[in-house]
Symmetry: D2
Subunit: 131 residues, 4 copies
Amino acid sequence: MTFRHRLKVRYGEVDQQGVVFNAHYLAYVDDTIDTWFREALGPSFQEHDWDVMLKKAVVEWSSPAGLGDTLDLDAAIDRWGNTSFDVRVDGAVDGRPVFTAVITYVGVHFGTHTPRSAPDAVRAALGDVVE
Amino acid sequence: MTFRHRLKVRYGEVDQQGVVFNAHYLAYVDDTIDTWFREALGPSFQEHDWDVMLKKAVVEWSSPAGLGDTLDLDAAIDRWGNTSFDVRVDGAVDGRPVFTAVITYVGVHFGTHTPRSAPDAVRAALGDVVE
Amino acid sequence: MTFRHRLKVRYGEVDQQGVVFNAHYLAYVDDTIDTWFREALGPSFQEHDWDVMLKKAVVEWSSPAGLGDTLDLDAAIDRWGNTSFDVRVDGAVDGRPVFTAVITYVGVHFGTHTPRSAPDAVRAALGDVVE
Amino acid sequence: MTFRHRLKVRYGEVDQQGVVFNAHYLAYVDDTIDTWFREALGPSFQEHDWDVMLKKAVVEWSSPAGLGDTLDLDAAIDRWGNTSFDVRVDGAVDGRPVFTAVITYVGVHFGTHTPRSAPDAVRAALGDVVE
């Protein structure tokens, strides 16, 4: 299961070198995953007694994006661990790979924020690992 | 009474034309006023039963700021109205004026967010209008 | 002539009070106008020997936007002066007015950045003042 | 050799959960390294015929930062490779570790942007690997 998100680069996100400033890629990735999870699990995740805490982010760039570009962002679950799990997001412009990000979250109970494994309904909604 | 704040321009805040992207000026202004108010009134404004809601922002630029520049930001109360009031922030680099902002807030009760005039302690802490 | 732009609020644009942080509105407005002008005038404005410099921004809020909201942004020319001109952008969520911005630009020659009045082709492409 | 940078968290960088939004950490890290390199190597790196291209970023969080916090950011060279090299940045608030980032750059010639190993003067200015 892969979630496709699209974002047009904004003028103010492009730096002096004419390319998207690096921190904005994390914002793009966050917006992709947040949009996906809320569509799949409801506007909050409260009904699943589940929430996520960000643990780690790895971003690797292969080419730049700039003004006028629209990023296609493909997100999928990359790993289901006991309580932690990874989401992979691949970003491309017109089929040209721009970056790959792997984000590690820890799943927690909605209110107490103590670690818990993802409920079956969450795993069903977000999908199995894409091989 | 004037509050002086200083901010070094960050690389990622500079756009393709080599100047600070316009939206960041509002962030600079907000950080200036927020820092001032929390220093003058305590970390939250709860003890004064007072909070602010942003109503209007006017920013006028006279010259650009860019990479390597440090902005001197001078904030002062420009108007005390019944419940609303204005804060003026002047930004300069090495004495060269860069922009002037006037921000209009409405003062509200801390919890209920209903309008109220600024308590005397708040007015004393933030100062009278600078002529 | 009115240009309609749409932007979904991103999680990272929402502040501790649960509303879009004020500086992001200027970024939304800039993206609206930039997208409009590039669609109407070409990817750069070079062929028209015309470019714009930001002079002033006025933003007035009437209600907040938050997570899950999509902003409808309607931009139109509000004033054609000799070299300066105003663009008005109205932002709304599901028909509820959120803010109005008026942005004043100075038109300049593309390369030299000296002031010039807008070429007829530019005025034709962006439209007359909306009454 | 370690470069110390300090950044006060801005109100607009804090999200709905009361913690700094993740993408801003990359902006803090970039500002730390950019400030360090320009102080050590000159306002541009042109005299060294050397520039850097971002290749990879890894950020791992151990605790949150929020409103009122000032981050101490310690940067040091973590690896000198043939043309690529790593910079490590540790962020802490009052001695409490908040995050660790490792940023991989590729060194390039200033004008042509073709890969090159770091000149001796650059390595001397930025220091050897901190064990």
